[in-house]
Amino acid sequence: MIEAFLTFDFIRYSVLSGLIVGIIAPLIGAFIVIRRLSLIADALSHVTLGGIAFGVWLSSIFAVTINPLVTGIVFSVIGALGIERLRTVYSNYKELAIPIIMSAGIAMGIVLLSMADGINNNLFAYLFGSISAVGKTDFYLIAIIAVIVCLFIFILYKELFLLSFDEEYANVMKAPKWIQIAFIIVVALVISASMRIVGILLVSALMTLPVASAMRVTSSFKQLMFVSVIFGEIAVILGLVASYYLSISPGGTIVLVSLLILLATVLKKSNHKQRGELDDQSV
């Protein structure tokens, strides 16, 4: 695989993009999990599918090449804003926004992809990721998104922490409203970036599984973000290698590795917990 990495551009782009995604997906995922927004990530990934299909369809009828990732990003950002809006409309049933947006995304995706005749070859790559689908433009887009995400988290870390931990206190302190909107847009960007590698259906897994595992072995939030990224990277690296040698979609292998990590932390925690209980009794 190292040879291939040196020889073939597309492998290089895939691997580098994978490594980037392994950082940003768990990083933003930490906030998503804490705020119980995992399903929103799922909904947005389906909207991204709609956007990608739109790009493919446009390219097919206008005989121009539009990078579907670009339309995917645009749709996912619009979907993010739509969810925020619906969440205020149905303020007592915030989760209703999710199936509405999600079904809209899938329905559009399927209709447009069928019309563009892209169902056969493209759909599989979009749904489960692909090691050969990442081109140069994709790579640069992903890299730019990564810079935005990292800056966003770095600069607004304390506001994001407060918003996630205690929304009421953040409201008393009148934390600016645009941070919430910016957050959901950044989530949309991360989803678009990750989708090339792990696919639409498994994007949210890469954002949540490493965090779910890290939660069981860390006690501070900074540690949580750090360990989530480590777990994310392990999953991406092992997943990509397996995907390359077995010639299967990287989405599946990456998520399976994440699940193994999760399993390991769950088992480890059970021992830990027994110890903790003894501690409590001795106090």
């Binding site: 996630s164 008393v172 006690s219 939030f221």
Partner: protein, 260 residues
């Protein structure tokens, strides 16, 4: 004449989110001066928390108005000068993977302002309140691994970390053991000497009698608003009218004398 910090005028509030439309407050008028310690008392469900939330802008005002430092509360900008401990520390995300130290530090978020990260001074401020609330040894513990009383002390520490000039406390000592409650009120007395304005919602009549400058009794309506001295002169009949049962003014100091 001393400066007025909070002024509540003809405030009424009805919860409209459920079909039954619960009236919570009716024609409340209150004033709190700088450095004043006002205790708000009243039975469960009497609208105390609703009043606090309206003052803090967590609920939007329907009728009447609230002035903070002479400005309508909507226009008031110095929220970093306000420390707040909410009634239930449950408002935070349970199981949140953060340490006590991170939570306390997050109290400084507004004061620091956007785009700035915490520095040495902030860490020193954090250590000061950890010490003050006797939770220094919990600093690196996960917040969800604490007992109710410990958690509550963490939230008090978060409210104090900014050295606020105004403190709004909604039943802050619920679940805290007797020793730490006493220490907490000692801290409040010290803050009071530093001219901090304190608004305390409590069930603890003993504390009210010992510490408060003035008292407001609320049960949807404002039944009493005056000095602590006058509050203690109220006869039992009037108090029971508010509470629905008789209340005795037992001071904690008195308590301690007879028990120790």
């Amino acid at each position: 004449m001393s400066e007025t910090i909070f002024e509540v005028r003809d405030l009424s509030y009805v919860y409209t989110d459920r079909p039954e439309k619960t009236p919570a407050l009716k024609d409340i008028n209150l004033k709190i001066n700088k450095g004043d310690f006002l205790a708000i008392v009243g039975p469960n469900g009497s609208g105390k928390t609703t009043l606090v939330k309206l003052i803090l802008g967590l609920l939007s005002i329907q009728t009447g108005e609230i002035l903070i430092n002479g400005k309508r509360s909507r226009k008031f900008n110095n929220w970093d000068e306000v420390g707040y401990v909410s009634q239930k520390s449950n408002s935070f995300q349970k199981g949140f993977p953060a340490t006590v130290s991170e939570v306390v530090l997050s109290g400084l978020t507004k004061k620091k302002g956007l785009f700035k990260s915490f520095n040495k001074q902030d860490l020193a401020a954090r250590d000061r309140v950890l010490e003050l609330l006797d939770i220094k040894d919990l600093a690196d513990k996960n917040i969800s691994a604490l007992s109710g009383g410990q958690t509550q002390r963490v939230f008090i520490a978060r409210a104090l970390v900014t050295k606020p000039s105004i403190l709004v406390l909604d039943e802050p000592t619920v679940g805290i053991d007797a020793r730490h409650v006493r220490e907490f009120y000692d801290v409040l007395s010290r803050l009071k000497n530093e001219e901090v304005t304190i608004l305390l919602v409590t069930h603890d009549i003993g504390v009210v009698v010992d510490k408060a400058d003035s008292v407001a009794c609320i049960n949807e309506h404002l039944h009493f608003h005056g000095s602590n001295h006058d509050f203690q002169q109220l006869d039992e009949a009037e108090i029971s009218k508010i509470y629905g049962f008789p209340i005795q003014f037992v001071s904690h100091d008195h308590d301690r004398e007879c028990c120790s």
